[in-house]
């Protein structure tokens, strides 16, 4: 827990680019996920190993949820949304390891993820509907509301970012304060609560991304 939540600890530089601790944590999580997927699907077969079955259960569960939200063939959207969900769960829960701060507790990681969601919403919307029909949905239900529609596009991306950042960062603060006040063992129930909060936030982020994409491709209202 550093003093200022808006600036991250710089570990080293590559050329002029400072590499901060959240970035290194993100790389470690990415490496871990790639390694697990590679181990599980190295020899994928119809009679799966235990790890392959576990991975298939996870992907299938996420696909069911996304299909319930988007209400059409979900496989176009599963690679993006399931990756977001799995990455967020691992990143948020990584806080329980000693000396690891979740990269989502610093503003840069949620900002990057929200930017990905923002761009992919328009990408899927234009791909599904075509450029003009997609642009025309900003004038629904009335032309007068076009500025408000564009404004809500920006604010919902902003709140997507700030919600994740605020929850993860404030939980770090709560833990630091409880450690400061009460010492050993007392923070453990709070850390268990932190696991729950992390998973719920990952779920909310993914569900909201799916709802936004569903609204862009024209199957749900948002």
């Amino acid at each position: 827990m550093e003093g200022n939540p808006l600036s991250a600890l710089v570990l080293f530089h590559i050329g002029p680019v400072p590499i901060t601790k959240p970035v290194v944590t993100t790389w470690a999580i990415m490496g871990l996920l790639v390694l697990v997927s590679w181990l599980g699907l190295r020899r994928a077969s119809v009679e799966p190993t235990a790890l392959q079955s576990a991975l298939e259960i996870v992907v299938d569960a996420v696909r069911d949820q996304i299909e319930a939200i988007i209400q059409r063939d979900a496989w176009t959207y599963v690679p993006l949304l399931a990756t977001l969900f799995i990455f967020l769960v691992v990143a948020n829960v990584s806080a329980i390891l000693p000396d690891v701060q979740p990269p989502t507790g610093h503003i840069e990681t949620p900002a990057a993820l929200a930017a990905i969601v923002f761009l992919s919403v328009h990408f899927f919307g234009i791909k599904r509907r075509g450029l003009w029909p997609y642009l025309r949905h900003y004038t629904q239900p009335s032309v007068i509301l076009t500025p408000l529609n564009i404004l809500s596009e920006i604010t919902r991306t902003f709140s997507l970012m700030v919600r994740l950042f605020g929850n993860m960062m404030s939980h770090e603060f709560v833990l630091a304060i409880v450690v400061f006040l009460a010492g050993l063992l007392v923070p453990i129930p709070f850390m268990v609560l932190g696991v729950l909060i992390g998973i719920i936030q990952a779920y909310i982020f993914t569900v909201l991304a799916a709802v936004f994409i569903g609204a862009a491709v024209g199957s749900v209202e948002a």
Binding site: L6, A68, V162, R163, G166, Y203, V207, L208, V211
Partner: protein, 80 residues
């Protein structure tokens, strides 16, 4: 009163009063969802998904207050 004390007071007031409205609203939303699930347990899946999305929307208001408090404390343009 120094600017530091004023910003700390500002952050405290922003978070404490900003938490009241969303807390009441989330309580009402969860109570309504519980009521609906008790009446129609078979629609619990759809209800809880909608509830989560709605709660996230309500919670945004409280998080805006948190952001303002953080800006006032750590990125205040009026303090050096």
């Amino acid at each position: 009163m120094t600017p530091q004390i004023m910003s700390i007071l500002g952050a405290v007031i922003a978070v404490s009063f900003g938490a009241i409205g969303p807390a009441l609203a989330e309580g009402r939303a969860v109570a309504a969802a519980m009521d609906a699930i008790a009446r129609q347990p078979e629609s619990a899946g759809t209800l809880s998904r909608t509830l989560f999305v709605g709660l996230a929307m309500i919670e945004t208001m409280a998080i805006y207050c948190l952001v303002i408090a953080l800006l006032v404390l750590f990125a205040n343009p009026f303090i050096g």
